[in-house]
Symmetry: C2
Subunit: 341 residues, 2 copies
């Protein structure tokens, strides 16, 4: 089985740029269209992220590519060549998804490293350095993905059916890839994941591209299959892991985690980087979105005019409900996640 | 507060007939259109029920009205005037929704009563007798609804927010009506209820018509609001209650019942008639529907061609997860439901 990542996970399909513009792969309409949202500046990039054009690992990749794009724009005299301007623009992008603290941390670390280099370099040298740093970061991320995939695969048994919510991207796909490579047979049940259908639109087609057997279910059916003994493992990505083992992930994760706990099924969350600054769940900043986003599906209303919806975008999953947190430094039980550092 | 039932709960909006045809209120496209599916015979009526044109208490009301309609057709010589034909036709209708054992029981009881009357009557006399029996049955049902509403209201406290799945019709609406009449303030969170959106299309507009504050959420959000302490009671109808206290209801009920159990929130199921013949959960006949019904919403696909979905239509909720079963004979804890008889 040769590894060929699905369309959605190729960096150039997540984000790329040219002399004039930055292009963000539109995950909101995939797989119906493979198109890109075109941005000219940090405000537009931020708006695209806020509008959920990309999600999951997407915003970090967009932020990294944006750093190259904005530096190039500075070299072309389109933006003022100034470190504070770069920082301000990057901050606009980071702030577009407050729950995504990985994006914030990675970009702020990079900016810190870049400051001194800028003073000592010509614009072109600086631009090339930024591009090199971003490439290095992408390569690092890649190694992390594969390491986490290998760790994830060790949790899977031959014949397992994995239930998953939203789009857990590289980490889940590589976990299954390595499990299959080891001769294990693995199936996936993908929650459609309202309101944006990342499960049916992103996860299911990506699994299919990888040749992994997948069925779509609605978000309300996970417990049915768990009760029937048809789910062996619940796995999801995580937007945030706190130091008390609390996991934050896409709305819908909590109800499945509770059902998994009730039926004695392990729940594993993948975490690119547990957040040292979030000592406990009280430090979580919640993203409440406009209820209107729920009330229309593919431009068709789901109810009568004048009735409002509520839309909390993320679930907080208490550590008690979490069996494993797979990180690049190993698999932790949630109460031991501090040992990551 | 004067009682004015919402559009969907008026018998004539559920089903009516004239000389030629029987009309079933199309709950599949309400509230976008208030239209009826027109049927000429038991096969067409059965198909409409199978196609989910009506649901919840709808099929029973359709079966009762069908009995009047088919008897009238017999009097008009359109159908053979014969008891076995009537039975055969009613059986076709009953079999359209195997989970709905109330419909089966009520109709079979009525048929038993009718057999002797038919022998002794003229066709016109018999037709009028059937109409009278059905009216009586409807009046009985009405008293049952109000009684259950009063019982349900006794479980509600001032300031409560009720989470509900699908469309629990009269029993939930009357429970809230009586609670509000007693001066209690009640709010509702309605799960949209995929795949047919009965929550957003039927429950939410009906609550609004009744002046009850309601918000729509996706099916995956119940646990979020329970965790936040924003839900005081989870309430649903039930398609079936077994003698071991097992509740069968719309897919999605189980995950909310588990979350309610986990957070110590009561789960109350309304049951028009617990089923004596179902001694335990092993006697439940499950309705597995075509996964294709999930894969399109308002004629728009939710995934790529060639990926399949699974669609179990109902959840089995173990008695451990059920706090109260509200019946016309009182409120039972699930382990005491046998005392109903």
């Amino acid at each position: 089985m040769e590894l060929k990542l699905p369309y959605l996970l190729k960096n150039s399909n997540i984000c790329y740029y040219d002399e004039q513009k930055l292009y963000i792969g539109n995950r909101k309409i995939f797989p119906f269209e493979k198109s890109f949202v075109i941005c000219s500046n940090s405000e537009e990039i931020s708006t695209a992220i806020k509008n959920m054009i990309t999600q999951g690992g997407g915003p970090l990749q967009v932020a990294l590519t944006s750093m190259c794009y904005l530096t190039s724009q500075m070299c072309n005299n389109i933006l003022e060549y100034d470190f504070d301007t770069l920082c301000k623009n990057m901050q606009t992008i980071i702030n577009s998804r407050p729950t995504n603290t990985t994006m914030k941390r990675v970009i702020e670390e990079l900016l810190l490293k870049l400051k001194e280099v800028m003073i000592k370099s010509t614009p072109i040298q600086f631009r090339d350095y930024v591009i090199e740093c971003v490439k290095e970061k992408e390569h690092e991320e890649d190694l992390v993905y594969h390491n986490m995939g290998l760790l994830g695969s060790s949790l899977l048994n031959d014949g397992d059916t994995i239930l998953t919510t939203c789009f857990a991207e590289h980490t889940l796909i590589l976990s299954i890839y390595y499990a299959i490579k080891e001769g294990k047979s693995i199936k996936v049940l993908a929650n459609e994941t309202r309101p944006y259908f990342q499960g049916s639109r992103l996860t299911a087609p990506s699994m299919k591209e990888m040749g992994i057997p997948v069925n779509i279910i609605t978000d309300s059916m996970g417990a049915y299959f768990m009760r029937n003994g048809e789910v062996n493992h619940y796995m999801s990505a995580s937007d945030l892991v706190c130091m008390d083992g609390t996991v934050v992930n896409k709305i819908g994760t909590l109800s499945n985690a509770i059902a998994a706990y009730y039926y004695g099924i392990p729940y594993t969350a993948f975490s690119m980087s547990p957040d040292k600054t979030k000592t406990d769940k009280n430090k979580i900043k919640m993203e409440l979105r406009d209820g209107k986003e729920i009330l229309n599906i593919f431009n068709h209303p789901i109810s009568e005019e004048g009735i409002e919806a509520l839309y909390p975008a993320f679930d907080i999953i208490d550590s008690k409900l979490v069996t494993n947190i797979v990180t690049n430094k190993g698999i932790f039980s949630p109460n031991k996640i501090k040992e990551y550092f």
